[in-house]
Every structure is written in structure tokens, then in C-alpha cells.
Assembly symmetry: D3
Homo-oligomer: 111 residues x 6
């Protein structure tokens, strides 16, 4: 199983447990979280890039991996990926580097 | 060994190492950190909920697990736990979701 | 005009501008943000305390002031307020102190 | 003087003081910080949106204002701006709202 | 009144209000916060630099100003100050720049 | 293989992958990140302490381990290490404790 499939599967399993306990607020928030990345005035492609850079500067590995997966589906190129990472690196500083390392490894394995 | 016992044991072992090196400030801080959650004007129960939501929005898995353990001992219900998580989710946004996933898994295994 | 009224008025005026530009996601999120603090398995009183400590450790003055206002309406006592601040101080460290200073000043002026 | 001009002028004045003390690292970092937003595999327009959402979730008013200014020059529309803010709001939670309020006020005054 | 005196006075006044409400935890924490910067295995001078860089990467203007004041008393040179800021800038990224701007302005006015 | 060697090796391997994708900004930033810790007005020894405390309050385990390694090479003593951790603990609060635990374990194994 690729690191990409592994990530998806674990995420799905945990989401199922979350949903067993989730009240109205949690469920509605999860809906908003899905819908906010859909095509609108901005394309889904651009929004996934926004989600990725936000996840990078907030240094959340799971969120980074999730949006990298989406970027793979949006056919983001290697050069575009490097530039997204660069913006995050300059805004967020060297503290983002360990996350960039793990992110680029995931990218390299799955693209 | 349950995930709850495993967590406690590892925490204890690491605390022992920390205490071998700890000077006065570290030791006193650890005391404050224990005492701040004791019954006072607010009950220990309420304070553990405060500690949990603070840990969630600061996105610290170990701190979340610690306070979840305490919440188990304070007989927090599933519905109360969902509402604590919901407040953290709304305040802290989707970046807290991976932590909520791991937290609810721990809750589900140990309650 | 008290600092409490001033805060409310400015917040209201800015919210009106936000709503002129707000799409569906923003509007729905604002609804969730209102509803999550309502009575449920946990009382509104407890939830406002959760919101306050979360705002304190994330160091957002406006959010702190907002929840302090709500705590005033929930008749939180001085001793309870000190204990909420203490939990936030221990979890979040000295970096929260400037926010505690401004918060307690607001509390002192408006309680 | 508009809030936009005021912002630019103060920023310029402070940068001059910073440069009087700046060594090689600071100067080179400032160069990188300018260059990273230039047209490349991604357009300057997209990069400014990335910078804006990163600034929003990290909750830095000055950085938000700076990138909003750049977005004005890139002819970002009201709908696009709302969607950038929405992504930041969902990722970063209600703690971003006070920054969104001030940002949208700036947008409303200067667009 | 210089910006340095103004800062000290306001801080003192607010601390007095905080102490009127402070319970045991808050008081003890304030003591630890004073003592941790005193001469020990590391000099007070080095510890103030540590406090300054920590405040910078956590982006707390009041904390930065406080430690800059202490650095002035420890006769930190302009070159040393630039290097402390540089480490913070590289670790924390461009998001620290608005804080560096305000910090260096304070330094320039008071050194 | 010691935890120290293991850390270095993994870091190196990941850096190689990062460099395969790195554009000019990323490469230049990595250079700045190396150079900022070199002897200047402040010694490399002091700068590594600054880097360590900054990494601790930002709660990045990899960054903490990296700077601990450098501190080992600069012959930082146990007492000095405890005082660096103490400053980070007081500034950053109990949320730093899980990172301190892992850091001191690494220190204990490798000093």
C-alpha cells in the first residue's frame, strides 16, 4: 500500500469514529470544511494551494498531506509545488522545514 | 496494555529523566502545573475541561491525552466531550481536526 | 461610554461590513460560532469559560474581551475569573501575561 | 491620507530604521521576501493570495494589510477576496475573525 | 516621557490591577518569571537574549519590549541585537518582520 | 545506531529529496539558515542556545533535536541545558513540557 493510500485509509477510519460522537456543530463544520475548497470565484485548484500553504505555516503534517493529495489530483507541477512551499518557508521560517521535508518526501513518493 | 496505561507509563518514565536534570524553576513549575487543576472556586472537573480545550487549540497531542485521561476520571460524558471538542474546533478551526481524530480514538478506546 | 459598550459597538460596526462581503461559508461559520456556546450537555456558562481560556492561550485580545463580556453576563465571580486566567497562564506561559493584564483591566472596569 | 497610504508610509519609515541596523542575514532575507512573490511557475497574483491566507491563519494584521494591498494591485475581486478569507476562516477558526474584520474594513475603504 | 518610561509605567499600573485579583498560582508564576532570568549557570545577559528571541518568534510585542529594555541594561550592542533579531527572523520567518520593525524602532529611540 | 546518528541520517536523506525539488528561494533560505548560527558579534555557542529556545517555544521536536545536537558540540553543560529549558518553559508554559520530556531524553542518551 502506498503512503498515499495508507494516509487515506487511516483518515477514513478515524473520521468514522469521530462521526459516532459528533454533534450538530462538528457535523456542520465538517461540511463547511469540504465545501470551502470547491470551485467558486476561485478554482478548486487555487483553493487547494491556499489550503496547503495555510497548513504548512500552521505546521500540521496531516493537513499538509491531505492538501498535497488534493494537489496531486489537480495536477500541480513540481515547479508549482516548490513555489507553494517557498512562500510557506519565507512566511513561516525555518520552523517549517521539518514539515517541508516530510511533505516533499510524500510528494516524491506519490506524484 | 491499554493505550491509556501505555500513555501513563511513558509519561512517568520521561518525567523521571526530566527530574534528574530539573533545577528549581522546572520543579516549581511542575508543582504549579499539578495544583492549578485542583478544586477551588472552580471544580477540578471544570478545570480539566479548561485544560483540555486549551490543549486542543494549541494542538498538543500529549497534553490532550493527559487531560482526556483526567476527564475520564471526572466522569465526563460522551455528549460533554463532544461539546468540549466542538468549542475547540470552532475556535481553532480545521487545523485542530487531526488532533480531534486522535483524541476521540483515545476516548473511544478508554472510556 | 464604558470600555464594554465601546467594544460592543465597534464589533457590531465591523461585523456589518464583513456581512456585506460574506459568502455562504462565512455566514454559516458565524452561525456555528454563535450556536456552539449555547446551553447543551454543558451549560452556556461553562462553554464561555472554555471559549475564554481558548482565546487566552491563543492570545487574541478581541476574543478574550468578547468572552469576558459573556462571563460578566454569566455572573462569573472574581475568584472564578482568576482561576480561568491561571489555567491559561500555566498552559500558555508568560507570553500570555500581557493579554491577562489587558483582560483583568477590562474585568476591573466593567464588573 | 487614505488608510492605504498611511500604511505604506509607516511601513517605509520603519523599514528605513531596520535597514540602519540590518546585517547580511536580515538584508538577504528581505530580498528573498520580495522575490518569492514574483511571477514564476505560479503567477504573482496567485502568490499574493497564498501570502494573504498564510498571514491570516498566522494572525498578523500588518502582513494581512500588506498582502491585501498587493491583491488590490492584482485586481482581485470582492468574491475572490471573500473566498480567500473563507479558506483562512475554516482552516484557522473563529480566532481569525477579529483579523478578518479589520482586513475587510481595509478592503472596503481602499478597493 | 520616553517610550521606555511610558512602557514601564503602563506595565507597572496594569500589574497592580492583576495583583488585586491574583491567587496563589498567578503570584507564584510571576515569581518564577522574575527568577528565571537571574544569573545562574547562564548569565542574566544570556538569559535576557533567550527571553528576547523566544518573545520574537512567539510574536508578542510587549514581551519583546520588556526584554529589549533588559538588554539595554545588559549593554547588548547594536551588532548583538541585530544577530538576535536575525536568529528570530530565520526561525520564525517574515511573519516576525512587523515585530522586528517595532522592536528596532524602540531600540533606536532608547539605546 | 544512537538516536543522535539516526536523527542526522534521516535528516540528511530528507534534505537530499528536498534539494531535488528546491528552487532558488529554498536554496538561498537554507544557506541563510546555516550561516545565521555562525560566530559573529555573538558566538556560535550563544546562537545555538537562541535557536534551541526559539525551537522549544515554537514546539518543533525536529528543530529542538537539531539544536540540542549543536549544543552537545558546543559543550553546553547539564546546568546550562536545564536553564535554557527553564526559560522556554516559563515563556511557553506547560504546553512545552512534552517537548522538554523528549528533548531531555535525547540529551540524556547522547551527552
Amino acid at each position: 500500500m502506498s503512503s498515499r493510500e495508507e494516509f487515506r485509509k487511516e483518515r477514513e477510519q478515524l473520521n468514522e469514529i469521530v462521526m459516532q460522537y459528533a454533534g450538530k456543530t462538528t457535523k456542520r463544520f465538517f461540511n463547511l470544511d469540504t465545501n470551502v475548497y470547491k470551485d467558486g470565484a476561485l478554482s478548486a485548484r487555487t483553493k487547494e494551494m491556499l489550503g496547503l500553504v495555510a497548513s504548512l505555516v500552521l505546521r500540521c503534517d496531516d493537513c499538509i498531506t491531505y492538501h498535497m493529495n488534493q494537489c496531486l489530483e489537480e495536477n500541480i507541477s513540481d515547479e508549482e509545488m516548490d513555489e507553494i512551499m517557498s512562500v510557506g518557508l519565507i512566511v513561516g521560517g525555518s520552523i517549517t522545514i521539518p514539515h517541508i521535508r516530510r511533505a516533499i518526501k510524500f510528494w516524491d513518493e506519490n506524484k
